[in-house]
């Protein structure tokens, strides 16, 4: 039997989302290895938009400015989320040749990930991939984004373990919504993972599911962060107050 490809696993807790995104992009673009990064919650509430997200369309900017909620534009595509301690992040960074059965395009990667998570949620709720979201039934609990380069790809997910209802008010209803959302408002559209599975169980089962496809080797964050990393130019950035103000003016 062929040896399973190696995947290095970094387990984090409460790491700031910007630091996580910087780490992910650097690993995607400069590392030759496969990586899984799990960040169990992030320290402070942040809004995270996709690479071409437009604040005026996606955010209630006046509220965001008033409450000084940081807004990040990340390096990958996809939509907008507000993340906090109730969010669990799981990221896969793969060499396309190490997962050669997965075509390096958005849909096949999305399908591959859904099969992996179907093993995680086996016997728990009615897990399904709906368009680009992970859902129990028709309620979304996980959003996805990807970035595909010449030889590698990243697929990262923010899982809604729990959320603050008030935080949702910072986000506008997106112009483009998945068809399965129908006309539901936000609270009727999403659900919390905590109603289905203990937090540590989810992380353990995710690692177990990974081990079915990769030879998983746990690594510390310190081992991958080094002074030379500061030379890497990150694409994910926090929008300045001025940028948000200008966006508000249209």
């Amino acid at each position: 039997m062929a040896a399973l490809p190696l995947m290095k696993l970094i387990r984090l807790k409460g790491v700031p989302i910007l630091q996580q995104l910087h780490l992910e992009e650097r690993l995607l673009r400069t590392s030759p290895h496969n990586w899984c990064i799990i960040n169990d919650g992030t320290n402070l509430p942040h809004i995270v938009m996709g690479i071409s997200g437009k604040p005026a369309e996606l955010l209630e900017i006046n509220s965001v400015l008033r409450d000084k909620v940081p807004v990040i534009r990340r390096f990958s595509g996809g939509g907008t989320v507000i993340v906090d301690t109730g969010t669990i992040f799981v990221t896969f960074i793969c060499n396309k040749d190490d997962v050669s059965e997965v075509q390096p395009y958005p849909r096949p990667i999305m399908s591959w990930s859904s099969l992996l998570y179907s093993r995680v949620f086996q016997g728990v709720g009615d897990f399904v991939l709906r368009e680009n979201d992970y859902a129990f039934g028709n309620r979304k609990f996980g959003g996805n984004a990807q970035s595909i380069t010449k030889n590698r790809w990243i697929h990262h997910t923010s899982f809604l373990w729990d959320y603050e209802i008030n935080n949702m008010a910072y986000l506008k209803l997106p112009k483009r919504a998945p068809e399965y959302r129908l006309a539901r408002n936000h609270l009727d559209f999403i659900c919390c993972m905590k109603e289905y599975m203990p937090r540590t169980n989810f992380i353990t089962r995710t690692v177990d599911a990974l081990q079915g496809e990769f030879s998983v080797e746990t690594t510390d964050l310190e081992a991958v962060e080094s002074p030379s990393n500061t030379k890497f130019i990150h694409s994910s950035k926090i929008l300045t107050e001025r940028e948000l103000e200008e966006a508000a003016l249209g």
Partner: protein, 496 residues
């Protein structure tokens, strides 16, 4: 005449994403893979002038271990139309149901030599950013879109100059015979035992030559253009084979005919990139009620100051008049900030902008672009000179960043550097003013004593949004600006 910031990212329209999202579950993720659907996809692909290339080409049905029937794309080459070695590279299909992508950034520029599989650009489709790589080794000839453009699948992204015309012989060996009707041309050629390109076949047809009669000297016996011409010459169909230096008389004749024919034929081409952006911004500008204020400025002192800077500062820095005009403009804006404002029609509000981010219109090989120098009020003339040079270099290389071209508060167009007395510019919305500077001319003028002397004179035309600015404000502003240009010693009076 002038465009607004043309890199402003376009607003998404939900219509643009029609067909992108499908309700699929892990159990049934497949696109239709019936024969009919596959053929219809292939026929639509054939309609494109050049087949999908870059990193996605051939379409085949795949069943992967996950039990999901899916579409996937290998990098097998397909038929492409090449004219004079120029290959049009379209945006290839990046996923089922994806009809268009947003172009995020280029990694190459015209003139760059590129290798096979080298990343060309990054696009975004729905949830993913995707690097598009080149299938060819060649040179970038023309880039047809700018970041922010929505590009439809199949639309040409860029053109490459590929020096060798070839049809890969292995295509016929590796493709499934029932899989790709688009490559029937290649297969027919291969079947006939003669490998050649469409261009070579056209030449043979022109001389009524059967390619099977021609001995091919290319790879794997491929018939090249020279082979056909040599054969034609040997049959007396044409004169001596032309040398590259003297040119082909037959070709010259046909070229002359083509030229004559071209003189009278209409030519239609789609507007792309900067030019397409200009259409959009000028259309928006047309809604603004413009009024124009024209003034003549004596630039004798400006010319002397420029010469002084050149003589007494770093010889590696080339000084021009423009940075001095930019700095003096900023000083005038301090007194008349309304010209550095933004108007919101929706809220009926005017916002006085804190920074003087002065945009400079630049004509580049790719079109008109307006990068801006940020916070001019806090920059020295030397710093403005260096920043202007930096922006100009980036503009000519088509490498301006999003930050360089956004956030402008007022625009200056030195159209006189090309020529013309003055122009009537269009405002770069949502700014409220734009200034066009005409050519510097030597004209006879009277001095204070009534004597005629040759003066360096330019005419400026300030276009202003009449919803925000009135004639008096613009006139006072222009008077202030003119005073700084004609009497630069006034800088010292206001310097902090």
């Amino acid at each position: 005449m002038l465009s607004r910031r043309i890199f402003r990212t376009r607003p998404w329209s939900s219509a643009g994403w029609r067909g992108l999202v499908h309700d699929r579950t892990a159990a049934k993720s497949s696109p239709p893979v019936t024969g009919t659907a596959r053929q219809s996809w292939l026929f639509s692909a054939r309609d494109f002038k050049s087949m999908p290339s870059c990193s996605v080409h051939k379409f085949y049905e795949a069943k992967n271990p996950y039990g999901i029937q899916g579409c996937s794309f290998s990098s097998q080459p397909m038929v492409e139309v090449r004219v004079d070695g120029i290959v049009e590279i379209p945006l290839a299909q990046t996923g089922e149901g994806i009809a268009e992508c947003e172009l995020l950034k280029w990694f190459v520029q015209p003139g760059d030599k590129i290798d096979e599989f080298q990343p060309l650009c990054e696009v975004q489709s729905d949830k993913a950013t995707i690097e598009i790589t080149s299938r060819y080794k060649g040179e970038v000839s023309e880039i047809l879109h700018v970041p922010g453009d929505i590009v439809k699948v199949g639309e040409t992204l860029l053109k490459l100059f590929v020096s060798e015309l070839s049809v890969p012989a292995e295509v016929g060996d590796t493709m499934e015979p029932d899989n790709d009707t688009c490559t029937s041309d290649i297969q027919e050629t291969a079947k006939g035992g003669v490998l050649s390109t469409p261009a070579v076949r056209n030449i043979a047809k022109m001389y009524n030559i059967n390619l099977q009669d021609v001995s091919g000297t290319g790879k794997d016996g491929r018939v090249l253009k020279e082979d056909v011409l040599k054969y034609a010459a040997s049959k007396g169909l044409i004169g001596d084979i032309p040398s590259p230096i003297t040119g082909d008389p037959v070709k010259q004749k046909s070229e002359r005919e083509d030229i004559h024919q071209d003189d009278y034929e209409d030519k239609t081409y789609p507007l792309r990139g900067f030019h397409r952006a200009m259409v959009k911004t000028m259309t928006a500008a047309a809604k603004i009620p413009h009024f124009y204020f024209v003034e003549e400025i004596n630039c004798d002192a400006l010319v002397d100051l420029k010469a002084f800077f050149q003589k007494h500062s770093d010889p590696d820095v080339k000084h021009t008049s423009l940075p001095i005009l930019i700095k003096s403009l900023s000083m005038a804006l301090k007194k008349y900030p309304l010209l550095n404002s933004r108007f919101s029609e929706e809220s009926n509000e005017v916002t006085l902008r804190g920074s003087h981010n002065i945009g400079i219109a630049m004509a580049t090989p790719s079109g008109l672009v307006v990068p801006n120098i940020k916070k001019v009020q806090s920059l020295s003339i030397l710093e403005i000179t260096k920043e202007l040079s930096r922006l100009r270099d980036l503009a000519m290389a088509n490498k301006l960043s999003q930050d360089d071209i956004s956030g402008g508060t007022i625009t200056l167009s030195n159209i006189g550097s090309i020529g013309g007395k003055f122009g009537s510019p269009l405002i770069n919305a949502p700014e409220v003013a734009i200034i066009a500077i005409g050519q510097l001319q030597k004209l006879p003028r009277y001095d204070d004593k009534g004597n005629v002397y040759p003066a360096a004179v330019t005419t400026v035309n300030i276009a202003a949004d009449h919803r925000v600015l009135d004639g008096a404000t613009v006139a006072y502003f222009c008077k202030e600006w003119k005073s700084f240009i004609e009497k630069p010693e006034l800088y010292m009076l206001h310097m902090r």
